[in-house]
Symmetry: C2
Amino acid sequence: MVYPPPHTSAATCTTAMRSVRDALDLLGGKWKLPIILGLSEGPKRFKQLQRDVTGITAKMLSKELKELEMNGLLTRHVQADTVPVAVTYTLAPYGTTLYPVIGALHNWGQLHRHRIMHTGEDGHPAPSVPEAAAVPNVA
Amino acid sequence: MVYPPPHTSAATCTTAMRSVRDALDLLGGKWKLPIILGLSEGPKRFKQLQRDVTGITAKMLSKELKELEMNGLLTRHVQADTVPVAVTYTLAPYGTTLYPVIGALHNWGQLHRHRIMHTGEDGHPAPSVPEAAAVPNVA
DNA sequence: CTGTATCCATGGAGATACTG
DNA sequence: CAGTATCTCCATGGATACAG
Protein backbone atom coordinates (compact mmCIF):
# COMPACT_ATOMS: atom_id res chain seq x y z
CA MET A 1 0.00 0.00 0.00
CA VAL A 2 1.44 3.29 -1.10
CA TYR A 3 -0.93 5.47 0.82
CA PRO A 4 -3.66 4.92 3.36
CA PRO A 5 -7.09 5.13 1.76
CA PRO A 6 -8.98 8.38 2.40
CA HIS A 7 -11.57 6.47 4.39
CA THR A 8 -12.12 3.36 6.46
CA SER A 9 -15.81 2.60 6.34
CA ALA A 10 -18.58 2.56 3.79
CA ALA A 11 -20.12 5.62 5.39
CA THR A 12 -16.85 7.49 5.13
CA CYS A 13 -16.61 6.40 1.55
CA THR A 14 -19.99 7.91 0.78
CA THR A 15 -18.80 11.20 2.17
CA ALA A 16 -15.55 10.98 0.25
CA MET A 17 -17.48 10.20 -2.89
CA ARG A 18 -19.59 13.33 -2.47
CA SER A 19 -16.59 15.56 -1.96
CA VAL A 20 -14.77 14.13 -4.92
CA ARG A 21 -17.82 14.55 -7.09
CA ASP A 22 -18.19 18.13 -5.91
CA ALA A 23 -14.61 18.87 -6.84
CA LEU A 24 -15.00 17.14 -10.18
CA ASP A 25 -18.10 19.15 -11.00
CA LEU A 26 -16.12 22.36 -10.70
CA LEU A 27 -12.81 21.21 -12.06
CA GLY A 28 -13.94 18.64 -14.60
CA GLY A 29 -13.40 19.00 -18.29
CA LYS A 30 -10.28 19.32 -20.34
CA TRP A 31 -9.26 22.85 -19.52
CA LYS A 32 -10.00 24.03 -15.98
CA LEU A 33 -6.92 22.63 -14.27
CA PRO A 34 -4.50 23.50 -17.10
CA ILE A 35 -5.77 27.07 -16.98
CA ILE A 36 -5.29 27.25 -13.23
CA LEU A 37 -1.84 25.81 -13.69
CA GLY A 38 -1.02 28.40 -16.33
CA LEU A 39 -2.14 31.18 -14.02
CA SER A 40 -0.09 29.78 -11.17
CA GLU A 41 2.90 31.30 -12.94
CA GLY A 42 1.44 34.70 -12.30
CA PRO A 43 -1.18 37.05 -13.81
CA LYS A 44 -1.61 36.71 -17.54
CA ARG A 45 -3.53 38.27 -20.37
CA PHE A 46 -5.99 36.43 -22.55
CA LYS A 47 -3.69 35.83 -25.48
CA GLN A 48 -0.79 34.83 -23.28
CA LEU A 49 -2.99 32.28 -21.56
CA GLN A 50 -4.16 30.90 -24.87
CA ARG A 51 -0.54 30.39 -25.90
CA ASP A 52 0.35 28.66 -22.65
CA VAL A 53 -2.66 26.36 -22.47
CA THR A 54 -1.79 24.44 -25.59
CA GLY A 55 -4.62 23.65 -27.92
CA ILE A 56 -7.40 25.66 -26.33
CA THR A 57 -9.56 27.84 -28.56
CA ALA A 58 -10.59 31.38 -27.74
CA LYS A 59 -14.16 30.30 -27.30
CA MET A 60 -13.32 27.63 -24.79
CA LEU A 61 -10.85 29.82 -22.94
CA SER A 62 -13.41 32.57 -22.68
CA LYS A 63 -16.09 30.23 -21.41
CA GLU A 64 -13.83 28.48 -18.91
CA LEU A 65 -12.45 31.75 -17.58
CA LYS A 66 -15.99 32.96 -17.01
CA GLU A 67 -16.85 29.88 -15.00
CA LEU A 68 -13.64 29.98 -12.99
CA GLU A 69 -14.24 33.63 -12.19
CA MET A 70 -17.80 32.92 -11.10
CA ASN A 71 -16.48 30.30 -8.73
CA GLY A 72 -14.04 32.77 -7.24
CA LEU A 73 -10.94 30.93 -8.38
CA LEU A 74 -9.59 33.83 -10.38
CA THR A 75 -10.16 37.53 -10.87
CA ARG A 76 -10.49 39.52 -14.06
CA HIS A 77 -9.07 43.00 -14.39
CA VAL A 78 -9.73 45.29 -17.34
CA GLN A 79 -7.29 48.07 -18.22
CA ALA A 80 -9.71 50.17 -20.25
CA ASP A 81 -7.54 53.23 -20.70
CA THR A 82 -5.20 51.49 -23.10
CA VAL A 83 -5.70 50.71 -26.73
CA PRO A 84 -6.27 48.01 -27.41
CA VAL A 85 -7.76 47.15 -24.07
CA ALA A 86 -5.77 44.85 -21.84
CA VAL A 87 -7.47 42.21 -19.74
CA THR A 88 -5.53 40.45 -17.04
CA TYR A 89 -6.49 37.27 -15.23
CA THR A 90 -5.11 36.58 -11.80
CA LEU A 91 -5.35 33.51 -9.65
CA ALA A 92 -7.42 34.38 -6.60
CA PRO A 93 -6.29 33.21 -3.16
CA TYR A 94 -8.99 30.61 -3.30
CA GLY A 95 -7.56 29.38 -6.57
CA THR A 96 -4.25 28.68 -4.91
CA THR A 97 -5.97 26.20 -2.62
CA LEU A 98 -6.00 23.98 -5.69
CA TYR A 99 -2.24 23.58 -5.67
CA PRO A 100 -2.40 20.33 -3.72
CA VAL A 101 -4.81 18.95 -6.31
CA ILE A 102 -2.64 20.05 -9.19
CA GLY A 103 0.46 18.85 -7.41
CA ALA A 104 -1.04 15.41 -6.90
CA LEU A 105 -2.14 15.25 -10.52
CA HIS A 106 1.25 16.41 -11.67
CA ASN A 107 3.07 13.81 -9.61
CA TRP A 108 0.81 11.05 -10.77
CA GLY A 109 1.12 12.16 -14.38
CA GLN A 110 4.89 11.87 -14.10
CA LEU A 111 4.63 8.51 -12.43
CA HIS A 112 2.35 7.32 -15.18
CA ARG A 113 4.61 8.60 -17.91
CA HIS A 114 7.51 6.80 -16.28
CA ARG A 115 5.46 3.63 -16.12
CA ILE A 116 4.43 3.86 -19.77
CA MET A 117 8.09 4.10 -20.76
CA HIS A 118 8.82 0.77 -19.09
CA THR A 119 5.82 -1.22 -20.27
CA GLY A 120 5.20 -0.04 -23.79
CA GLU A 121 1.90 1.76 -23.56
CA ASP A 122 -0.09 -0.78 -21.53
CA GLY A 123 -0.29 -4.10 -19.78
CA HIS A 124 0.73 -5.16 -16.34
CA PRO A 125 3.84 -3.23 -15.43
CA ALA A 126 6.89 -3.70 -13.34
CA PRO A 127 5.87 -5.32 -10.03
CA SER A 128 7.30 -2.55 -7.91
CA VAL A 129 5.86 0.88 -8.50
CA PRO A 130 8.42 3.67 -8.26
CA GLU A 131 7.97 5.99 -5.32
CA ALA A 132 5.78 8.93 -6.20
CA ALA A 133 7.21 12.38 -5.69
CA ALA A 134 6.27 13.96 -2.43
CA VAL A 135 2.96 15.75 -2.15
CA PRO A 136 3.65 18.35 0.51
CA ASN A 137 0.93 19.07 2.96
CA VAL A 138 -0.95 22.35 2.98
CA ALA A 139 -0.65 22.85 6.71
CA MET B 1 -0.06 31.80 -0.36
CA VAL B 2 -1.41 28.52 0.92
CA TYR B 3 1.03 26.28 -0.84
CA PRO B 4 4.14 26.74 -2.94
CA PRO B 5 3.34 26.43 -6.64
CA PRO B 6 4.41 23.15 -8.26
CA HIS B 7 6.96 25.01 -10.36
CA THR B 8 9.09 28.11 -10.45
CA SER B 9 9.80 28.84 -14.09
CA ALA B 10 7.94 28.83 -17.39
CA ALA B 11 9.88 25.77 -18.49
CA THR B 12 8.89 23.93 -15.34
CA CYS B 13 5.33 24.98 -15.96
CA THR B 14 5.36 23.44 -19.42
CA THR B 15 6.48 20.15 -17.91
CA ALA B 16 3.88 20.37 -15.20
CA MET B 17 1.24 21.10 -17.80
CA ARG B 18 2.15 17.96 -19.72
CA SER B 19 2.00 15.75 -16.66
CA VAL B 20 -1.31 17.18 -15.57
CA ARG B 21 -2.73 16.70 -19.04
CA ASP B 22 -1.47 13.12 -19.10
CA ALA B 23 -3.18 12.41 -15.83
CA LEU B 24 -6.36 14.12 -16.99
CA ASP B 25 -6.44 12.06 -20.16
CA LEU B 26 -6.61 8.88 -18.14
CA LEU B 27 -8.68 10.06 -15.22
CA GLY B 28 -10.89 12.63 -16.90
CA GLY B 29 -14.62 12.28 -17.20
CA LYS B 30 -17.32 11.95 -14.61
CA TRP B 31 -16.75 8.41 -13.45
CA LYS B 32 -13.15 7.21 -13.36
CA LEU B 33 -12.17 8.65 -10.00
CA PRO B 34 -15.46 7.81 -8.28
CA ILE B 35 -15.06 4.22 -9.46
CA ILE B 36 -11.51 4.07 -8.14
CA LEU B 37 -12.76 5.52 -4.91
CA GLY B 38 -15.48 2.92 -4.71
CA LEU B 39 -12.98 0.14 -5.23
CA SER B 40 -10.66 1.58 -2.60
CA GLU B 41 -13.06 0.06 -0.08
CA GLY B 42 -12.08 -3.34 -1.34
CA PRO B 43 -12.97 -5.70 -4.20
CA LYS B 44 -16.49 -5.36 -5.47
CA ARG B 45 -18.81 -6.96 -7.96
CA PHE B 46 -20.40 -5.15 -10.86
CA LYS B 47 -23.78 -4.55 -9.29
CA GLN B 48 -22.29 -3.52 -5.99
CA LEU B 49 -20.14 -0.99 -7.74
CA GLN B 50 -23.10 0.38 -9.64
CA ARG B 51 -24.92 0.90 -6.35
CA ASP B 52 -21.96 2.66 -4.77
CA VAL B 53 -21.11 4.93 -7.67
CA THR B 54 -24.34 6.85 -7.53
CA GLY B 55 -25.97 7.61 -10.83
CA ILE B 56 -23.81 5.59 -13.16
CA THR B 57 -25.50 3.40 -15.75
CA ALA B 58 -24.45 -0.16 -16.53
CA LYS B 59 -23.21 0.92 -19.92
CA MET B 60 -20.95 3.61 -18.55
CA LEU B 61 -19.72 1.43 -15.72
CA SER B 62 -18.87 -1.34 -18.14
CA LYS B 63 -17.03 1.00 -20.47
CA GLU B 64 -15.10 2.76 -17.73
CA LEU B 65 -14.11 -0.50 -16.06
CA LYS B 66 -12.76 -1.75 -19.37
CA GLU B 67 -10.61 1.35 -19.78
CA LEU B 68 -9.38 1.29 -16.20
CA GLU B 69 -8.45 -2.36 -16.58
CA MET B 70 -6.57 -1.69 -19.81
CA ASN B 71 -4.58 0.97 -17.99
CA GLY B 72 -3.66 -1.48 -15.27
CA LEU B 73 -5.49 0.37 -12.53
CA LEU B 74 -7.74 -2.53 -11.63
CA THR B 75 -8.07 -6.23 -12.28
CA ARG B 76 -11.11 -8.24 -13.30
CA HIS B 77 -11.71 -11.70 -11.96
CA VAL B 78 -14.42 -14.03 -13.24
CA GLN B 79 -15.80 -16.76 -11.01
CA ALA B 80 -17.23 -18.92 -13.79
CA ASP B 81 -18.17 -21.98 -11.74
CA THR B 82 -21.04 -20.24 -10.02
CA VAL B 83 -24.46 -19.48 -11.33
CA PRO B 84 -25.02 -16.79 -12.07
CA VAL B 85 -21.41 -15.92 -12.76
CA ALA B 86 -19.69 -13.58 -10.36
CA VAL B 87 -17.29 -10.94 -11.61
CA THR B 88 -15.11 -9.14 -9.12
CA TYR B 89 -13.16 -5.96 -9.68
CA THR B 90 -10.13 -5.26 -7.56
CA LEU B 91 -8.00 -2.17 -7.34
CA ALA B 92 -4.55 -3.04 -8.66
CA PRO B 93 -1.45 -1.86 -6.78
CA TYR B 94 -0.97 0.72 -9.46
CA GLY B 95 -4.49 1.97 -8.81
CA THR B 96 -3.62 2.69 -5.21
CA THR B 97 -1.02 5.18 -6.39
CA LEU B 98 -4.03 7.38 -7.14
CA TYR B 99 -4.85 7.79 -3.46
CA PRO B 100 -2.95 11.08 -3.22
CA VAL B 101 -4.93 12.41 -6.16
CA ILE B 102 -8.22 11.29 -4.69
CA GLY B 103 -7.19 12.56 -1.28
CA ALA B 104 -6.39 15.99 -2.66
CA LEU B 105 -9.66 16.11 -4.58
CA HIS B 106 -11.55 14.95 -1.51
CA ASN B 107 -9.98 17.59 0.71
CA TRP B 108 -10.62 20.30 -1.79
CA GLY B 109 -14.20 19.17 -2.30
CA GLN B 110 -14.79 19.49 1.42
CA LEU B 111 -13.12 22.87 1.52
CA HIS B 112 -15.29 24.01 -1.35
CA ARG B 113 -18.46 22.70 0.24
CA HIS B 114 -17.57 24.53 3.42
CA ARG B 115 -16.95 27.70 1.43
CA ILE B 116 -20.25 27.43 -0.40
CA MET B 117 -22.07 27.21 2.91
CA HIS B 118 -20.64 30.57 3.95
CA THR B 119 -21.14 32.52 0.76
CA GLY B 120 -24.41 31.28 -0.63
CA GLU B 121 -23.38 29.43 -3.78
CA ASP B 122 -20.92 31.94 -5.24
CA GLY B 123 -19.18 35.26 -5.07
CA HIS B 124 -16.13 36.41 -3.22
CA PRO B 125 -16.01 34.55 0.03
CA ALA B 126 -14.72 35.06 3.49
CA PRO B 127 -11.26 36.69 3.24
CA SER B 128 -9.54 33.92 5.14
CA VAL B 129 -9.87 30.47 3.67
CA PRO B 130 -10.34 27.77 6.30
CA GLU B 131 -7.39 25.45 6.66
CA ALA B 132 -7.68 22.46 4.39
CA ALA B 133 -7.51 19.01 5.89
CA ALA B 134 -4.07 17.51 5.77
CA VAL B 135 -2.97 15.76 2.62
CA PRO B 136 -0.54 13.21 4.03
CA ASN B 137 2.56 12.55 2.03
CA VAL B 138 3.18 9.27 0.27
CA ALA B 139 6.71 8.94 1.53
C1' DC C 1 -6.23 42.64 -28.34
C1' DT C 2 -10.25 40.55 -26.30
C1' DG C 3 -13.56 38.55 -26.97
C1' DT C 4 -18.76 36.99 -29.01
C1' DA C 5 -21.85 34.68 -32.50
C1' DT C 6 -22.80 31.14 -35.53
C1' DC C 7 -22.46 26.84 -37.62
C1' DC C 8 -21.45 22.22 -37.21
C1' DA C 9 -19.18 17.57 -36.04
C1' DT C 10 -18.21 14.37 -32.54
C1' DG C 11 -18.89 11.71 -28.79
C1' DG C 12 -20.53 11.49 -23.93
C1' DA C 13 -24.10 9.61 -21.80
C1' DG C 14 -29.16 8.27 -20.61
C1' DA C 15 -33.18 4.93 -21.61
C1' DT C 16 -34.57 0.79 -22.92
C1' DA C 17 -34.46 -3.78 -24.38
C1' DC C 18 -32.04 -7.84 -24.82
C1' DT C 19 -28.40 -12.02 -24.06
C1' DG C 20 -25.51 -15.58 -21.62
C1' DC D 1 -25.92 -11.33 -12.17
C1' DA D 2 -23.13 -9.13 -15.66
C1' DG D 3 -23.15 -7.17 -19.18
C1' DT D 4 -24.20 -5.71 -24.70
C1' DA D 5 -26.95 -3.40 -28.42
C1' DT D 6 -29.58 0.40 -30.14
C1' DC D 7 -31.53 4.59 -30.25
C1' DT D 8 -31.41 9.09 -29.09
C1' DC D 9 -30.41 13.63 -27.05
C1' DC D 10 -27.44 17.08 -25.85
C1' DA D 11 -23.10 19.16 -24.21
C1' DT D 12 -18.42 19.74 -25.63
C1' DG D 13 -15.76 21.80 -28.46
C1' DG D 14 -13.55 23.09 -33.19
C1' DA D 15 -13.69 26.59 -37.26
C1' DT D 16 -14.78 30.67 -38.89
C1' DA D 17 -16.38 35.20 -39.06
C1' DC D 18 -17.38 39.20 -36.78
C1' DA D 19 -17.38 43.24 -33.02
C1' DG D 20 -15.73 46.67 -29.40
